[in-house]
Symmetry: C2
Subunit: 462 residues, 2 copies
């Protein structure tokens, strides 16, 4: 059973709640929105990603007969409810920000409108998919802004949190502007350029470095990037110099060298000199080894002669902010707006839209968060995506999402493009939304002080 598509990939409370909704026939339309409450301290903006997988999940949602049998065997549920689950599918609507869209705190990036049990049930996996890819794309975008035209490659599969994390991190970092990934399966699935040459073990398995380099080049003549830090980086660079003319005679060009340890900037400078003095100006220098956007910034500011970077663990785990303070919250049920008022977790009720305004140069000025019906100036960011359970447009190629992200990053105000913490981008809450929130609070305080439940009905039912 593929866990990616199992309907059991959810929190138990979705099923216990559904049993309640089912028993009391609460099938009216519910509206849930996914948003981030607060940006991580180290982020000036977020980049939406993961929508394609969320849409696929909604389209394919169904319990297999084996899953139904297993649920029945837990004896946690009424038999008629388990039979009802057999027919659970997603028949609702989705509006969402396209992947690659820049967004900020409190702005919904996805709205689900569906019969309550459906809209409720999908919460866990929707958050699971949107949180992770958004977290990775948002961190990757920072490296992209810092590295400018230099190539960045995702090397993080080994320290990603499992199989799906590795694949989705490759996808999300590619959307954000990375050039490729070392992850072969991500390459196959998403047509992301794949990249990779040799590890230290290849060098160590030979009795000397130059044999390892020569054999690798001979076996992979179109992909000769030699790892030169297994023993002494500059000594290995000298060997590359000795090897290059001999390989040239065989028609093989050395494309690059990779440095994976020590002071990368310092080594790169020395290696560049060694290569240049030997006339190997076309041999590129790749760097890797626990990189992130901060180290990239230092290397860029130091003008390190590095042409491309492999970034691993810190991208695939978004190590400085591995999850978002995000939520998928009920905003309306049966035509009435709803609002959670738990301490520190208050939400904006109703169906919302985000309008974004730009200056004449196309740079973002500010956003307005308001009700969907309250038209404002600027571009609306939430777009109809799924209607009655079916997608409105075929999936976009990843290249299109990557172009959107690049365009969005180009439109960021300068103050948000820095790695340092900037003053938050202005997200205005429109009067229409404030009024609704007040109205909901007023109504709620009347309601919660009363005790309207009719216990008779419960007793009679028994």
């Amino acid at each position: 059973m593929n866990p990616e598509y199992s309907a059991l990939l959810t929190d138990l409370y979705q099923l216990t709640m559904l049993q309640g909704y089912w028993q009391y026939e609460m099938h009216e339309t519910a509206v849930f929105e996914f948003f981030v409450r607060k940006l991580p301290t180290q982020r000036n903006f977020l980049l939406a990603a993961g929508l394609e997988q969320a849409i696929t999940y909604l389209e394919e949602l169904a319990f297999s007969s084996a899953e139904i049998e297993w649920l029945a065997a837990t004896h946690r549920f009424q038999p008629a409810f388990v039979r009802w689950l057999e027919d659970l599918h997603f028949t609702g609507d989705v509006e969402a920000m396209p992947e690659g869209t820049v967004f900020f705190a409190d702005e919904p990036i996805l709205r689900v409108t569906a019969p309550l049990p459906q809209a409720q049930f999908v919460e866990t996996r929707i958050i699971n998919l949107l949180n992770f890819q958004t977290v990775v794309a948002s961190k990757a975008a920072r490296s992209v802004l810092v590295a400018r035209e230099k190539a960045l490659v995702d090397f993080g599969l080994r320290r990603a949190h499992g199989a799906e994390a590795g694949i989705m991190a490759a996808r999300a970092s590619y959307i954000a502007g990375f050039s490729g990934t070392s992850n072969v399966l991500a390459g196959q699935r998403f047509n992301i350029p794949i990249s990779g040459t040799m590890a230290h073990s290849f060098v160590q398995a030979h009795d000397d470095e130059i044999s390892a380099f020569a054999r690798f080049a001979d076996a992979n003549p179109g992909n000769v990037v030699l790892l030169i830090d297994t023993y002494e980086t500059e000594v290995a660079a000298e060997k590359v110099v000795r090897l290059a003319p001999k390989l040239k005679q065989l028609g093989i060009d050395i494309q690059g060298v990779r440095i994976d340890s020590g002071d990368l900037g310092q080594h790169a400078r020395k290696v560049r000199v060694i290569l240049d003095e030997a006339g190997l100006r076309e041999v590129r220098i790749f760097a890797s080894g626990n990189l992130d956007e901060y180290i990239l910034r230092d290397l860029m500011e130091g003008n390190a002669p590095i042409d491309a970077f492999g970034i691993g663990a810190r991208i695939d785990t978004s190590s400085d902010a591995p999850y978002l303070d995000c939520a998928y919250k009920l905003q309306e049920y049966a035509g009435r707006p709803r609002r959670k008022r738990s301490e520190g977790k208050t939400t904006w009720p109703g169906r919302k839209q985000v309008y974004r305004t730009f200056d004449q140069a196309g740079r973002m000025i500010s956003d307005v968060l308001t009700l969907r019906e309250d038209r404002q100036g600027g571009d609306p960011l939430l777009i109809p995506t799924l209607r009655s359970g079916k997608r409105l447009d075929p999936p976009k190629p990843l290249s299109a999402l990557r172009e959107r992200a690049a365009d969005q990053l180009a439109r960021l105000p300068d103050k948000l493009r820095t790695l340092d913490r900037a003053a938050p981008f202005e997200v205005k809450v429109a009067d229409a939304l404030r009024s609704l929130a007040l109205a909901v609070d007023k109504q709620a305080s009347t309601v919660t002080s009363s005790d309207r439940f009719d216990f008779k009905s419960l007793e009679e039912q028994k």
Copy 2:
């Protein structure tokens, strides 16, 4: 295609290296070991986990015909090499520390001994599996030590990094001593107790809280834990008090209440008083909401009357240390020990064993890292696990791994049981291992200063 089992779930460089090994017939026995170079600052010990999935991966490793076709179509590889990949299986041996074993820096927790291409190829997924579960089990163990006899439940699926991460985090935290998970699929796959009741949306979907509570109890009479912080926690607790006798008449007991926001200790104290004064002493208090071991410690030290905790994002992402500085390194090839000497990444060569000694009370005193042949006092921690590609023992039930972890945690020296940084546990490097490392270095410095590759052979081959 299930990504968990795809042979393409690897780094491209494994395949380019294999093409080199294949071309030069480098099929002799290689020995790789997985170890952690350095513990994260916030960890005094690590708890091994993920071995079962690593073993399954090795047993099942094979390219599907679709994968072989795709590889051929990339035109990155020689056709004969791709055909050779069709028959790639794992036929080697594995020694490993059982899951639930406490370990420290530099200690191998898994050794692979196999023909070089096999032992090399599996690197990416082996690291991917061992790193993540170990990271989660190690963090979860800290909460277990702090929470003592109180129940801890994994709530992290939604913010875990994808499907596999959510499932494996449930597994790893259960091994470490958690009582269960909210993750239904993890419950089904691994027979982990599942737990869950209601979200705020269930309360919000009703016009008042008491209706929500009554309906939930009626629909889930065996699992009545009511979420009381949607509006005002203590007001909701009073409603629970009013509801309890009416439910009692229907034969339904309220088992607990859950608080998910605000000052958990303060709310719990007030709610406990409200419940106790109404005679509801048996109603338990559950707490959740961005918990981790530090907040648990504070709540425990403040004697907060909380009976069980739900811990989510910070466990499933191991947020303060989301990856390990770990490696899977070549230690021997073709009978000769190997050593990587990259700056800051030097490794200990050869096939190793870890011996652990205990005091009379059964507490750990120190470890000795040495060569496998160099018998030392104490218990050897690496155990034969796979022989010629087949497992030596059937998989242990998760309960057995959980018991092992509990026993290991009980044997930790007191100084390592604290959340604060302690002086490192003593891991002695035996003379036999030091001597070998020196010998390897000496031999290597002779070799790397020479240039032994015979280019004639390369030219003749062309």
